[in-house]
Structure formats: C-alpha cells, structure tokens
Symmetry: C2
C-alpha cells in the first residue's frame, strides 16, 4: 500500500476535480510533495483536509475563511480528532447565526406581507445589518455573512 497518492487518486477519492485540487494548493489550502519529475504526491491525511474544505463550503465559508481556519491546525504534527473538533466548533456558530438570520427573514416576511409594509426603509427587515451590502464589485453573497 502506497503511503502517498497521486492527484488523480485524490480526486477520485474526494470527488473534487484535479483542477480544483491544484487551485486549492495555489490558494494554500493544501500542500503536496513532488516526485523528482515534478508530479504531485499527497499524504493520505490531506483527504481529511479536503473533506473539511468541502464541508465548510457547504456551511457557507469562503476559501479565504477556510484557509484561515486550516491555519489553526498544528503545523508540526498530524492533526488529531480534537484539533478538528476545535475547528468545527467555529462553524457551528456560523451555522447557528445563519439559521437565526433565515428565521428572522421568514418571520419578518410574514409580518411584512401581513401589514402590507413590504417597502424599503419603513420596514425594519429590509435593511438591518445589511449583510448583503458588500464592498466593491463582485457577486453579492447568496448566503449572507455572519457579522
């Protein structure tokens, strides 16, 4: 059994396209060893790292945010279960915040439709926090951001 796997194998096992894996590496989310000829070789434990990335994306984190989280893992040794557990706690807060926001939207939706106030400014729901108002260009957040 090989200790290290190729990018093709990693892609197959993770379900993440090889091009995406290269992109993650470029972004600093994962690292690879290289053979003498320049081909990437991955230690198996990067699978967990990738799993983390995939999960965290579903939760709504950007790759930058995910990178910041991953940077909290210990550098000098393989991350253990409790290392991952520590990371995961922060997304729970993220998930909870997002759920709360959605519930607020839902509730307010009912309220506003009920009172007929579905108009800007007047309605306390149209703006508060204004999470979708980002800085500069680019697509607005689909999911909103935690404060």
């Amino acid at each position: 059994m090989n200790e290290e796997i190729t990018i093709g194998e990693l892609s197959a096992r993770s379900g993440v396209a090889a091009s995406a894996l290269r992109y993650y590496e470029e972004r600093g989310l994962i690292r690879s060893l290289r053979t003498s000829s320049g081909h990437r070789r991955y230690p198996r434990h990067v699978l967990r790292r990738i799993a983390f990335v995939v999960f965290a994306q579903k939760v709504g984190l950007t790759l930058d945010e995910i990178g910041a989280e991953l940077d909290k893992l210990p550098e000098n040794r393989a991350p253990r279960r409790d290392d991952w557990a520590k990371l995961s706690r922060s997304w729970r807060a993220h998930i909870d915040a997002r759920i709360t926001e959605l519930e607020r939207l839902k509730e307010g939706l009912t309220e506003c439709i009920g009172c007929g106030c579905l108009s800007m400014q007047r309605c306390r729901l149209a703006n508060p926090g204004d999470r979708a108002a980002r800085f500069g260009p680019g697509p607005r957040l689909l999911a909103g951001k935690p404060g």
Copy 2:
C-alpha cells in the same frame, strides 16, 4: 408630489445603486418609462418590486429565480397585497428547506467529528444531495440550492 421618480431618487429610497437598478432593468426585473429625452422615470410602486428583489436575494434566490417569481405577478393591474403574499409563500418553502439543510449539516458535523469519520465517501454527510456540485464553471453556491 410627483407621481414618477428619477433613478437617483429611486436609488436613494431603495438603497440600491443606480447602476444596479439599470442592471435589474436590463435583466427584466423592473421596467421604466422614459422622458422625451430618454431619462428613466419610475412609478412609485417599483419600490415594492425592488424590496422584493432585495428580500429574495437575502433568502438566497438568484436574479433569474427572482425574475421568474416576479413574472407571476399580474401584468395588467398593479399588484395587490395578496399577489405579493402568494409570491412570498414560495420563498418560505425555500427558507425552510435551507434551514433544514443547515441543521442537517450541523447535526452531521457533530456526529462526524464525534465518530472521527470526517472523511469523504464514508460519511453520509459529505455528499448527500451534493447540492453544491453545479454544472460547469462559475462560483459554487455559498448557500446551497433547494432541490
């Protein structure tokens, strides 16, 4: 009191940039009348339409989806409260679905961290639905999509 307002005024009242309003018009989400010289004039009730767009975006709908919703409004008369109410019911389902998904993620997160199975394939949470797996290029959904 003017019955119709300029794009600048609409922008100020809605909090949405004029460039975005033009973009919405280009995308067919709103319409404008024109003065003889070509300047846009908006009937006041477009404010509601814009409010709807802003809300729906926060909920996680794309502009295309929002457009599809808006197309359900009656063409020949000004939309009434119950028209809006009808539309809003569909997002409630959307919101609920999204909340459910987040809760599933949260629950599974705990579970997976607990059992140490945070790895692809093995874990029933890594893939199910695979909502983030879109077709073709472009950014993946931050929020996931309803079925």
